[in-house]
């Protein structure tokens, strides 16, 4: 439990501590631009496509993703619709280069998986008495941390492009509940890996 707790607390701390220190950097617009995302794995489908809009002085990236889960992986083909936000506490430029590295970005997501076999609530399934199953099999929430590498377009253009490559180590609510109620489950047991590309032009 020790390592798990420390990592979770560390994740929370990095979010809350970093918020007030948001560097109101000079040339950074307070919001925008729109970006597109191609996301891979991480519990939200084989691949997911989506996009969002950068807010909070380039620190937050809320987005919507639509993932595809093929029948080969989960019985019947399904769509996974995900609302997700990534918080980027700092993103230092590498010297005079056009590259930025964020060692830790962190965030959370909520996903809905389509398909009859997944119930939204115990009661909506229509076959269980109240309280039979306490969770939703269609809705998952999760959290993640991971590094990012961003390439910035030439600054002379009016709207410089940017492309980000990112990876995410995360978990979901059901895995977390399992780990928090059993000291024999270790952090690696509950981790999931995902990653993707974001771009704005």
């Amino acid at each position: 439990m020790g390592l798990k707790r420390r990592l979770l607390l560390g994740l929370l701390a990095s979010i809350w501590v970093a918020l007030p220190v948001q560097a109101q950097t000079d040339a950074q617009p307070s919001a925008g631009p729109f970006f597109l995302t191609l996301h891979f794995a991480g519990g939200t489908g084989l691949v997911a496509l989506g996009g969002g809009y950068r807010v909070a002085h380039q620190r937050l990236e809320p987005e919507v993703l639509v993932g595809y889960l093929p029948a080969k992986l989960a019985g019947r083909a399904a769509a996974v619709i995900t609302l997700k936000t990534t918080y980027i506490p700092f993103s230092p430029r590498l010297g005079q280069s056009r590259w930025e590295v964020s060692p830790v970005a962190a965030g959370g997501w909520l996903s809905y998986t389509t398909g009859q076999q997944y119930f939204l609530t115990n009661n909506s399934a229509g076959r269980y008495r109240s309280g039979y199953y306490w969770w939703s099999s269609a809705v998952r929430v999760g959290a993640f941390v991971g590094p990012r590498l961003t390439h910035l377009g030439h600054p002379s253009t009016p709207r410089p492009s940017r492309q980000t490559l990112y990876a995410e180590l995360g978990t979901n609510d059901l895995y977390l509940v399992s780990a928090l109620t059993n000291r024999s489950l270790k952090l690696p047991d509950i981790l999931t890996l995902g990653g993707g590309l974001k771009g704005s032009w």
Binding site: G45, A74, L149, L165, V177, S178, D189
Partner: protein, 276 residues
């Protein structure tokens, strides 16, 4: 600087970090928690455990002894303690888990239970529970363990393992699969029969349209020693239908007790409760 970063993509960095944590990034790379696919070493566990069991056949007329438990769902710490206790038992040939291996019907949960139970010095066998069927769980169970209905003969006894989780099929009138159950019970080449499933027939989660057929078929089987279930998380033994057929319910892992079942003769048996 630039070229160094280009040659070290972040995914490599993460996979190095993951390897340092002792992880297989393949198992972490998750498309959905409902993905039923399983790595090679956690696939077809029923078949693998049966092969191990049958490699040490029990001579005819020898006393049969097995551990009976159920409902391991999200009780991983209890599973660890159970394994330590069972490994100290002498003369026990295998262990049966009466369903609800997982809590949420996810493959990873089944792997976690197997992570503990594969430390047993004896093979273990399972039957599917209602929790194992949530979401895509039925496929996950099929992948990790194997068939939902199966039977095996050990010593003088045929063990008939069947899916009785009728509520998960919206009480479609086909669970348990009575033609299959009857066919199994008609096998008169073996001295004894034991039938094992998760939901007991006297439970509200058993399809009421199939209850009579099931109970009647069991009553008509002269070789049946008893019927065994899980689901209720606590031990019980009795004849709920007052028809001479004995029904035994297992402790759940969380109850920190299990049964040692000893069988001999035609239908002689003894149950011993073991706290751990």
């Amino acid at each position: 600087m630039l070229s160094r970063f280009r040659s070290q993509p972040l995914l490599t960095y993460v996979s190095v970090a993951a390897t340092a944590l002792g992880l297989s990034s393949c198992e972490m790379l998750e498309f959905s928690p409902n993905d039923h696919r399983s790595p090679d070493d956690k696939q077809a566990l029923t078949q693998k455990n049966l092969t191990t069991l049958l490699a040490k056949p029990l001579p005819a007329n020898d006393t049969l002894r097995f551990v009976y438990t159920g409902d391991s769902q999200r009780f991983y710490d209890d599973a660890e303690a159970l394994v330590k206790s069972v490994n100290q038992q002498k003369g026990v040939q295998f262990m049966l888990v009466a369903g609800d291996i997982s809590d949420f019907g996810l493959a990873r949960e089944m792997w976690w239970v197997d992570d503990q139970l594969r430390k047993l010095t004896i093979p273990y066998l399972t039957v599917i529970g209602n929790h194992d069927q949530v979401g895509n769980g039925r496929k996950a169970y099929g992948e990790v363990f194997g068939p939902l209905n199966y039977s095996f003969v050990y010593g003088d006894t045929k063990f008939i393992m069947t899916d009785t989780n009728g509520r998960e099929y919206n009480f479609n009138g086909r669970i348990p699969d009575m033609p299959w159950v009857r066919q199994q019970l008609q096998d008169n080449t073996v001295r004894r029969h034991v039938i094992i499933s998760h939901v007991p027939p006297q439970d509200e989660d058993f399809d009421p349209a199939v209850r009579d057929a099931y109970v009647t078929a069991l009553r008509a089987d002269p070789r049946l020693v008893f019927e065994m279930n899980g689901h209720r998380h606590d031990f019980s033994i009795g004849q709920p239908f007052n028809d001479g057929v004995t029904y035994v319910n297992s402790y759940a892992f969380e109850k920190r007790q299990y049964l040692i079942v000893t069988m001999w003769g035609d239908k002689e048996f003894r149950l011993k409760k073991v706290p751990f």
